[in-house]
């Protein structure tokens, strides 16, 4: 079968569209997160979601809606991570570790108290890019709009904070609020997008395209655009590649991301050797 025929399937169309939207918004957020040393926040918040879902089930929420019910818990946890970095004088990665461990432990304890989940929870929490329904496509589109509009709106503030938080504050920028916006957007993305494409993909899309773009960055704006470009390319190429080689789509997409990173890195090294500049 050729690719043209493949595209006519609804699930393929939705995978490509939703995948592109999610890739773009993850890449954009990822640039800010990676530069602020919050790279693993995607992973961490996914673990918190597990705890949040346990709370939801304890409150007898329908399994299909547990992901949505977990949103407030994840949002609060993301703000908690931020508070820890401010007050407890620890860096982002440790703060993420703390909150994430707390989330998992709560989840496990609450599950035990509740007498077990009623359904296989992970099948409701973690999605797969090839099984996106029409409703889920709408969710992806809504999330895309929210994230992109917010980032565009707050672009200058976010840039200032990412460069140097104190300098930004001296310009009257409310650093605490902007940081909050960033992590809240991330929390929303993690919960919703995780339900669509699974946690492996979200975590990878938050980190790798940003790092790849940073290898060849020629400016902040171009970095963001490059990251988005890499992410979209990896999703589209990954899906087609997975079809041709009969491999799971998620894994293929992540592998292509890594490949792009290696290429970018090699490119930078050769460029430097040519210029003789410092790395």
């Amino acid at each position: 079968m050729d690719l043209g025929e493949l595209i006519r399937y609804g699930f393929m169309q939705r995978a490509l569209i939703a995948g592109t939207l999610i890739a773009t918004l993850c890449a954009i957020l990822g640039v800010f997160l990676v530069l602020r040393r919050f790279s693993l926040i995607g992973d961490g918040l996914a673990h918190v979601a597990f705890g949040g879902v346990a709370v939801a089930l304890l409150l007898r929420v329908e399994p299909a809606y547990t992901a949505v019910a977990a949103i407030p818990v994840v949002l609060l946890s993301s703000l908690g991570i931020l508070k820890l970095t401010e007050k407890a004088r620890i860096y982002g990665d440790a703060a993420i570790g703390i909150v994430s461990s707390f989330g998992i432990a709560c989840g496990i304890l609450l599950t035990s108290v509740a007498g077990g989940f009623n359904v296989d929870l992970f099948s409701f929490l973690f999605g797969n890019i090839l099984s996106i329904s029409r409703d889920e496509l709408l969710i992806a589109a809504a999330l895309f709009c929210i994230v992109v509009v917010t980032v565009v709106f707050f672009y200058n503030d976010l840039f200032a904070i990412t460069f140097d938080e104190e300098l930004a504050k001296s310009s009257g920028i409310r650093a605490g609020r902007i940081n909050g916006v960033l992590v809240v957007l991330t929390a929303l993305t993690v919960v919703l997008a995780m339900k669509l494409v699974g946690i492996m993909l979200i975590s990878a899309l938050l980190i790798v395209p940003a790092v790849t773009a940073l290898q060849v960055a020629r400016g902040f704006r171009t970095t963001i655009l490059a990251a988005a470009g890499c992410a979209v390319f990896s999703v589209v190429a990954g899906i087609f590649f997975s079809f041709v080689m009969n491999l799971p789509a998620g894994g293929a997409i992540v592998m292509i991301n890594i490949l792009l990173f290696v290429v970018a890195y090699a490119f930078r090294k050769t460029q430097m050797r040519g210029r003789g500049a410092l790395p």
């Binding site: 609804g10 035990s112 007498g115 296989d120 799971p248």
Partner: protein, 360 residues
């Protein structure tokens, strides 16, 4: 600072230390600062208290106090075994199910509680060595030598997995298909074949009798009665599935119904192999959709307890209707409360199969 929240003197230290900290800064603090410091302190205390409470509360969760009886204590792993023991042992046994309601057996991990329960039991019954690889861990952990361990599959017919997951009517050449086989390659879902179920009932009765010889006749009597019910069910299946528009059914879950298909001469395609964790590849999804279309199947089946993503996708692409085919590994909490049994669940399966295969 590591907090051992169970030690109250250390807690007091923490709070006292914080008071000192406040006092040092307390020279002429503006009111706002005071309020903020106070608020921070309250927040910290509440957090510590909350964490302590959660820990203490979970630790104090008592198991139901089981009064000491002289009934035979039996622990089973999966629901069909639980149901069989219920039917054979009746009021003379205390049977419990390791798998909590709603938990997927392939992803089950035993807790310390479970090992304790097995330790206190007289008889431990598992399905077969392929289905419960974690049973060995439990037995090792329990460490009792006088525990009677019953392998319910003794004498049952085992089929290799995946034989039915090819094109309908074709014997599949294993090398051609992409399979995610467990090393053994055998299909562990033996209870879905009624002759196997009868053998399992026999093994169970024998086990109970050997441990409780006084009630041997009781157990055997019940076993025979139950086996005739199974025979009746088998007959209903045979008749119900004799004249159907199609003899092929497609299931969006993992490979579980090989025995069922084999017994009643049906062809069966499953989206996944025996392990439920595999991710679908686009190629596989397309192949499944094509097979639905080429055989004009109007129904697609999905399994219990798991989100029916794959089935939904297939249904959407082909316009098919989704029906549940219950694998009877484990049941949901609601089903358990409503008194579901192997017989009722299989009965429901028969109804859905008849609908799905469009039988007269």
């Amino acid at each position: 600072m590591v907090l051992d929240t169970h030690d109250s003197t250390e807690l007091a230290e923490v709070f006292r230390g914080y008071d000192d900290f406040l006092r040092n800064h307390h020279i002429i603090l503006p009111k706002r600062k005071l309020r903020k410091a106070y608020r921070d302190m309250v927040r910290w205390r509440s957090l510590v208290l909350f964490a302590a409470l959660i820990l203490v509360w979970s630790a104090c969760q008592r198991q139901e106090q089981v009064p000491a009886t002289d009934k035979l204590k039996v622990v089973t792993t999966l629901f069909p075994l639980y149901d069989f023991v219920r039917s054979v042992g009746r009021e003379k046994v205390e049977v419990s199910l390791l798998l909590p309601p709603g938990v997927e057996p392939h992803s089950f991990e035993p807790k310390p509680d479970d090992i304790v329960r097995v330790n206190k039991a007289d008889v431990f019954i598992y399905t077969n060595k392929f289905m419960e690889p974690w049973a060995a861990d439990i037995l090792r952990g329990a460490g009792r030598s006088d525990l009677l361990v019953v392998d319910s599959s003794a004498g049952a017919t085992l089929l290799p997995a995946g034989e039915q997951s090819g094109e309908a009517g074709e014997r599949v050449d294993e090398q051609k298909e992409e399979h995610h086989h467990p090393a053994s390659g055998m299909d562990p879902h033996i209870w879905l074949s009624i002759p196997n179920a009868q053998k399992m009932v026999d093994n169970i009765a024998a086990g109970l009798a050997s441990r409780d010889p006084g009630n041997r006749d009781f157990y055997h009597g019940n076993a025979e009665a139950y086996k005739s019910e199974l025979k009746r069910l088998d007959q209903k299946f045979k008749e119900g599935l004799s004249a159907c528009k199609t003899r092929l059914f497609l299931h969006g879950g993992h490979y579980a119904f090989g025995y069922l298909a084999d017994r009643y001469g049906l062809s069966y395609i499953s989206a996944y192999a025996v392990s439920a964790d595999a991710e679908p590849t686009p190629g596989r999804l397309v192949k499944l959709i094509k097979q639905m279309k080429s055989h004009s199947l109007r129904f697609v089946f999905t399994e219990e307890l798991i989100s029916s993503r794959t089935a939904k996708i297939i249904a959407e692409e082909t316009g098919a209707t989704i029906l549940t085919l219950h694998g009877v590994h484990n049941v949901s909490r609601e089903d358990m409360e409503r008194g579901a049994t192997y017989l009722t669940l299989m009965g429901r399966n028969l109804e859905n199969l008849r609908k799905g295969l469009q039988c007269r």
